[in-house]
Point group: C2
Chain length 308, copies 2
């Protein structure tokens, strides 16, 4: 089986290539241009160039290394083959680490402590409020959001989640639907979005949503940049309604040099690195997916109707 | 019962005073100078001025709000009454938050990401290593260290602990004794000290210990400043043997303005705030301790032989 690789980070990794060859010896991972497109049966991609896959006329499946498949689905020339999302446990673990870290940073005001060190100032900001007094809400509780929500709960936070389909998670208040979202927002101190980008979630983090949060709330966006209206966010920060925003994803990436988010004193920027595991961590996930595809049992396929 | 209060943060809190009066109406919390020292039966203290308590000739017990009682025990004039350490669950939870945050900061190189934002640089440092590939070791696993060790384990780290008395904790490698310490150090990536200051732990974080850690290891000290030799630490950082130090406690506090630790590029400073809960969180702990003392069942008394 020839599988076309369109994922820059993986193309550079020799250790990944060697491990992959050992785990799936009958599979040839080929670089773009190495073989004729017509002999390619599968594609292993991380947000590939739009239009590229239409030339793979015998394509049977696409394996997406990115949890977000919005850019794939936005390509009108994409062959109508199953898209498998390769979310592995390592990616879930990294997302959990990122969210726990950033929530603790806001909860304990560590950003302010770190700024004080730069001025050599020994200042007690205040006694620390208890995690039990904070409501942290997670939007999107699939493979990436749920482990984070559970870790926050085990650290003592009051955790709420919101998802398209109803969920039941012990000790966590689960909401669904637009009314559920509004109820959740009204009592939220820290809002974490792990939402995929779909027609329903485009621009969901906008003025209307921010206004429903209590004054002084903070937001963390690790879903997709286009879920958030950056101008509305800047207004909500500057009016004092929101206290802080921590952003890993942006409407345009890399975030342009002149963008006001870079220098906003109450914005934390990370360069889309919340949950990017080492290529080697995907070897087993890919090999398992290929075995299942060969057996006709295609795993975790993207639902094109709902967009994720 | 008259109880003398010697704890600045508590003296300023009216909400604490009101809650305390409601929880223990037969107890009078008195400020220094309000009543004659001879009518004082108990003291509620957070590192009080040495020499002060000797004048309380009818003192029957001391309640320590600080988990560290080294400065109390160092006072030769201290009345020979039981010292009760008021470690509450809130303090344990805050210490767990601090340690989880600082370990994740080192594990994911968030300090470097945050510095890059200040220069508006969108740079991928590297794919993230898995928590399962990191050994985090916790020295001291009492009320404060153990919940942190367990939280780190649940985030996927390989966790080791070292304590004076042998421990058994599911999924965690437990060490004791000097040989145990040396074995633990040799494989440690991030070393966290929650040790109390005793004759055995004074200067324990020194050149000899640093040399036993692998090159590139980091340390976090949330125990006591005098457990660590600051000059040895600076040498170990500057030689490149240690990668980073995160310090909440210091030999002299507040850390003097001219101290080289403040500006070291690989040192994170917090002003002894790892686990300082709101005064109100102690109301129930204090009321319970007072009831037990009245019933002659004095709780968690400091062992003066071992110094904690």
């Amino acid at each position: 089986v020839n599988i076309l690789l369109l994922a820059p980070q993986f193309e550079c990794s020799d250790t990944w290539r060697i491990a992959m060859a050992a785990a799936a010896p009958d599979v040839a991972i080929v670089a773009d241009g190495d073989v004729d497109s017509a002999v390619i049966e599968g594609a292993l991609v991380d947000e590939p160039p739009p239009g590229r896959l239409q030339y793979c006329t015998n394509l049977r499946f696409i394996l997406s290394l990115s949890a977000g498949v919005d850019s794939l689905l936005a390509d009108p020339t994409l062959p109508a083959v199953p898209i498998v999302r390769l979310v592995n446990t390592e990616m879930s673990a990294l997302m959990r680490e990122y969210i726990v870290y950033q929530v603790l940073r806001l909860h304990r005001r560590f950003d302010e402590t770190e700024a004080l060190q730069r001025d050599r100032r020994w200042v007690w900001l205040s006694s620390a409020a208890s995690a039990a007094s904070r409501v942290v809400s997670v939007l999107g509780v699939g493979h990436l959001g749920r482990p984070a929500a559970e870790a926050l709960q085990s650290l003592g936070f009051q955790v709420r989640v919101w998802s398209r389909t109803p969920k039941q998670i012990p000790g966590i208040r689960c909401f669904t639907g637009i009314d559920g979202l509004h109820t959740l927002l009204a009592g939220t101190d820290i809002l974490v979005s792990v939402l995929p980008l779909t027609p329903d979630t485009m621009d969901i983090l906008s003025e209307d949503l921010f206004r429903r949060l209590p004054v002084g709330a903070s937001i963390i966006n690790v879903g997709r940049g286009a879920c958030l209206r950056e101008d509305d966010l800047l207004n909500a920060l500057d009016s004092g309604h929101l206290a802080h925003a921590t952003l890993d994803v942006f409407a345009v990436e890399p975030l342009p040099d002149e963008h006001p988010l870079w220098r906003h004193p109450r914005v934390t920027i990370t360069p889309h690195t919340a949950a990017y595991p080492e290529p080697e961590s995907f070897v087993k996930t890919i090999a398992t997916a290929l075995t299942r595809i060969r057996e006709g049992d295609i795993p975790t396929v993207v639902d094109r109707l709902h967009g994720y």
